[in-house]
């Protein structure tokens, strides 16, 4: 088998590692494809988490040991109080009508189009070459997070403190394949999209009627597939972030989120978000707080908070403990002083963001979910969760951009990517409606 193929095939260890948890009875309400997609996401978090723990403990990475430990962790998590007597029954299903069946077809075609765009090298992110790839390659060679590499003065742009999930998983695949495979790494984009297309309809189905769930999923997948090619995300962190943030949000507005099983799953997905990119941290904190506030009457608050927050605290805590123990970093790097904000740049930042979003497909990937949201009849208070999350992320990005005296160029090449998760939040908000009969 060629190294590139082996590189990709090795990532199949992620769903295998996550499956012992998703096979638990608490997740039987979800279809098998849905659980397979969720297992891929959860397994990625567990594999990466164990790689961080190995690095912290000074143990060299061995893929087989890491996969076994990740699978064992997924199995042991089954013994947590996941089942809930108040768990609502799965909604009754009727045979799908022809119009409904169109939605999964559209999602599948979108994923195939994303594969084709990636295969033709049309969606490759320059950051793969500048940032993600070199780090993963160096870590694979060292079989740990290579502190001497991160300390190199001319490699400061690699951001030593950046969350480890993407570089961990790429290093994992590189060790398995014997080298870093640049072309193979780009295929993570359509693979994450396929996992999302597999899991999202089942999660949204617990929040909304099947036809709407399938159509909303199709829009999210199609929009990410389109945008991934437009703003070049293949090989970088965005596809992972889409997977974790979209699935976590869909779970939190659905029926499963009131159960221990649903909360643990959401917590693991939020841990994935915080371990993927810096903006995953404000997202996860805001998501947990909003969930506990909006759905407090349906929850046992202490248990829900524990399930939601502990996986992220453990994941990020291990990473920061690694940085501190090696005297490499003690938190995230900042762009200047935290409160040194160029407020006079606000108008230019906002107009640059609007321009960047316009150039990413005439803003269609965001406008279509907004239109669906406005057209949705009888929105429930659960719609506030994704909408406030979108507002929090927007505020975070604008706040970050305001730290440079002129961030126009930075916005030009990054805004389309960093604002991309918002489209899924808007689409999920649009399905938070009172369910109708008839």
């Amino acid at each position: 088998m060629r190294p590139g193929h082996l590189w990709l095939v090795s990532l199949a260890c992620c769903p295998l590692a996550g499956w012992p948890l998703l096979a638990h009875a608490g997740y039987k309400r979800f279809s098998r494809p849905c659980r397979a997609g969720l297992a891929a996401a959860v397994g990625s978090v567990l594999v990466s988490g164990w790689m961080t723990f190995f690095a912290l403990a000074g143990i060299a990475w061995r893929p087989a040991a890491i996969v076994v430990l990740a699978g064992l962790t997924a199995f042991l998590l089954r013994f947590l109080p996941l089942e809930d007597s108040s768990e609502p029954a799965a909604p009754p299903e009727f045979p799908a009508r022809r119009a409904e069946r169109l939605a999964p077809g559209v999602a599948v075609i979108s994923v195939i189009a994303a594969f084709a765009a990636t295969a033709s090298a049309a969606a490759t992110s320059p950051d793969l070459l500048f940032f993600w790839g070199p780090k993963a390659q160096a870590f694979a060679a060292a079989r740990t997070v290579d502190t001497s590499f991160l300390r190199e003065p001319f490699l400061e742009y690699m951001h030593a403190s950046y969350p480890p999930l993407v570089t961990n998983l790429y290093a994992f695949a590189s060790i398995a394949a014997g080298r870093f495979a640049w072309g193979a790494a780009t295929f993570v984009f359509p693979l994450c999209l396929a996992a999302l297309a597999s899991a999202l309809p089942g999660l949204l189905r617990t929040a909304t009627p099947r036809g709407t769930a399938w159509a909303a999923s199709a829009l999210v997948v199609a929009a990410f597939g389109f945008l991934g090619n437009e703003v070049d995300v293949a090989g970088n962190g965005e596809p992972w972030l889409w997977l974790f943030e979209t699935l976590a949000t869909a779970l939190l507005v659905g029926g499963a989120a009131t159960t221990g099983a649903g909360q643990l799953l959401a917590g693991l997905l939020l841990a994935g978000a915080v371990s993927t990119k810096v903006e995953g941290l404000p997202f996860a904190v805001a998501a947990a707080i909003l969930f506990l506030a909006i759905r407090r009457r349906e929850l046992r608050i202490g248990r829900a908070a524990g399930f939601l927050l502990l996986p992220g605290v453990v994941s990020l805590g291990a990473w920061f403990a690694f940085g501190a123990s090696r005297r490499l970093f003690y938190g995230y790097e900042q762009y200047g002083s935290f409160l040194d904000i160029h407020w006079n740049e606000l108008a230019r930042v906002l107009s640059s963001i609007a321009s960047a979003l316009w150039s990413a497909g005439w803003t269609l990937p965001w406008l279509l979910p907004v239109a669906a949201l406005l057209a949705a009849p009888g929105k429930t208070r659960l719609a506030a969760l994704p909408l406030i999350l979108a507002a929090v992320l927007t505020g975070f990005f604008v706040f970050t951009y305001l730290h440079l005296p002129d961030s126009s160029r930075w916005i030009e090449w990054s805004a389309g990517r960093v604002f991309s998760p918002l489209l899924a939040l808007l689409a999920i908000a649009s399905v938070c409606v009172r369910q109708q009969s008839g």
């Binding site: 119009a99 979108s110 295969a119 090298a121 490759t124 320059p126 072309g183 709407t212 199709a218 669906a372």
Partner: protein
């Protein structure tokens, strides 16, 4: 409860998904080009130099011995371009020690200490050493006195 899958919201969700999918497909290269593997992962990248740099560094990686010090420079010299070249070289020459000729768009002059020079662009009029590789994208030189 009966499923309801009609109305403007459903049309916008599904119609929007279909529209974006159609645009995605329309933007794809011709099928023959998709089936044919690209020479680099950056062949269709908007940054036009990315693919040629990738090819140059891949060829150079095979010609430069492991552990050697190497510095990528541009012809003509340009600190902005050499900053990019230095970053690309870190990823594509993992067995070498890369000494960037520029960082943060400012010249470092570290190329003076490198055993090998990779010159992106036309062959320099004043040879910086012994030519060990020439490709359409650039040349690789072994310096006589690092």
């Amino acid at each position: 409860m009966r499923i309801r899958s009609g109305g403007p919201q459903y049309f916008l969700l599904l119609g929007g998904a279909a529209a974006l999918t159609i645009i995605s497909i329309a933007k794809l290269p011709p099928p023959a080009e998709i089936v044919k593997a690209p020479s680099t992962p950056f062949d269709r990248n908007p940054a036009t130099a990315a693919a040629s740099d990738y090819r140059l560094f891949q060829m150079a990686a095979a010609a430069i011995p492991a552990g050697a010090t190497v510095s990528p420079v541009s012809q003509p010299r340009n600190a902005v371009r050499e900053t990019s070249l230095g970053r690309e070289a870190v990823g594509l020459l993992p067995r070498c020690r890369v000494l960037p000729a520029a960082a943060w768009d400012t010249a470092t002059h570290l190329e003076d200490q490198a055993k090998f020079l990779i010159v992106a662009g036309p062959r320099p009029s004043n040879p910086p050493g012994d030519l060990i590789l020439e490709t359409p994208e650039g040349t690789v030189w072994r310096r006589r006195r690092p």
